[in-house]
Symmetry: C2
Subunit: 280 residues, 2 copies
Amino acid sequence: MSPEREHTEAAATSEAWPLDDRGIGYGDGLFETVLVRDGKPQLWEAHLARLTWGCRVLGIPLPQRDMLERPLSQAGRGLAVLKLILSRGSGGRGYAPPAAPTPRLRWQLLPFAPAPARWASGVRVRLCRLQLGIQPALAGFKHLNRLENVLARGEWTDADIAEGVLCDSEGRLIEATCMNLFWQRNGHLETPRLDRCGVAGTLRAELLERLPMSEVDAVPDVMASAEAVWIGNSLQGVWPVARLDGAEGEVLNCWPIGAEHRRLQAVAHALLGYPAWLDD
Amino acid sequence: MSPEREHTEAAATSEAWPLDDRGIGYGDGLFETVLVRDGKPQLWEAHLARLTWGCRVLGIPLPQRDMLERPLSQAGRGLAVLKLILSRGSGGRGYAPPAAPTPRLRWQLLPFAPAPARWASGVRVRLCRLQLGIQPALAGFKHLNRLENVLARGEWTDADIAEGVLCDSEGRLIEATCMNLFWQRNGHLETPRLDRCGVAGTLRAELLERLPMSEVDAVPDVMASAEAVWIGNSLQGVWPVARLDGAEGEVLNCWPIGAEHRRLQAVAHALLGYPAWLDD
């Protein structure tokens, strides 16, 4: 890539997946999508920590750090997304994993631009009909079995709806389809517990470390008493939620976007190198 | 492949998976593993029916039948396994599926031999510690999100244990890691309902059509009153269960293998072209 280039405009990738890879066969692997700024991965330690967690749960050997960082040399200047996929590799007999797996790492480096208008004005989200299955053995880390997210995201096509909020099969709030969920009640920050299902985002992990925020079990009704609601992840930053719709399109709650929202955004965006809410 | 060859000895395959395929990214696709005898797929209509079901649920266009059958021309004589993987293809924005997906079909043709000793003498199975999450939206059809099966199959390495039996998170019997479960109580055949989780096998579907057999909710304790227990799928046929162990290795139940077992095997194996229980 040309060093003069301001942004990563074209995708750079590693080679393809062989047919017998367990990542394609069973979703037997992990992934991370990492914001890269001027060749530097943002929240990199948090991404490595989550990948390490997933490797430990699935019994996949973690690649050396320099292997994971190698694609960054092709990122150029500006913003990009590095998508890393780590599978258990080939082998084993059917579902039985091989005794000594040789994991396979593949990556894509893609152009990326955030959505400053959503930082500023907030977004409209909806409750999804799909409920996440409760599976503690797969909760929190970022594995490749993501059909629930695909089905949930397929519930709407209206471009005015930025995200869908998911509950588990017992009615608890969990997350948005590709973002975590945060709210403030009685002046206190809360986010759903993710030990039964859901993906524990890296931005969420960093915010839990830096802010007084509790992990709680809650149902969608708590939204009615929330002073502010946000969704966010390590690529997009934090979007205030201006309106929550039900699954049938009915308006459930609205929130004026104000100073209350900016404090969380300021902390989150400082971590990602974004302005607090308005693009420069 | 040489027409003189008695068995399919080497793998024949289609080309590799591109990096941006949604099958690898999210497990966004389906698969079928089909017993092929002398180039003819066994239980083919049942496999096509399940693939059609999965395509309908996930919103993936079903390929033309002749596309699905094309690999069979390379199967040669004898037994082989055709593994078909159908993904939603590339595209979309993150989890959001593309409005008009171009599905991607890939296949492998692999040598196969069943295990006649298991038909004859039965097998030892164990209860798995992992409990299947309850997710009706993904129950029954054969999608690519199979980490639960991988984790369950990874619970033991003792070669004397042929399979693991899985319950759902509410304690109901569901299936074995890659087989369905059948038993006889009071002279009547039963198999678990699979509308909350599990994979509805093609052999199971054919047996439900041909035999008086009920789909039931049951807990592992019913095994104590079963006259006979079997596990089976469309590749291996039907294995009588001679012994059921608990997850800690304790013996829960034993069954002498006898005439009771042979009737179900006879019906199942006739469908697959296998002898009722002894290899010829």
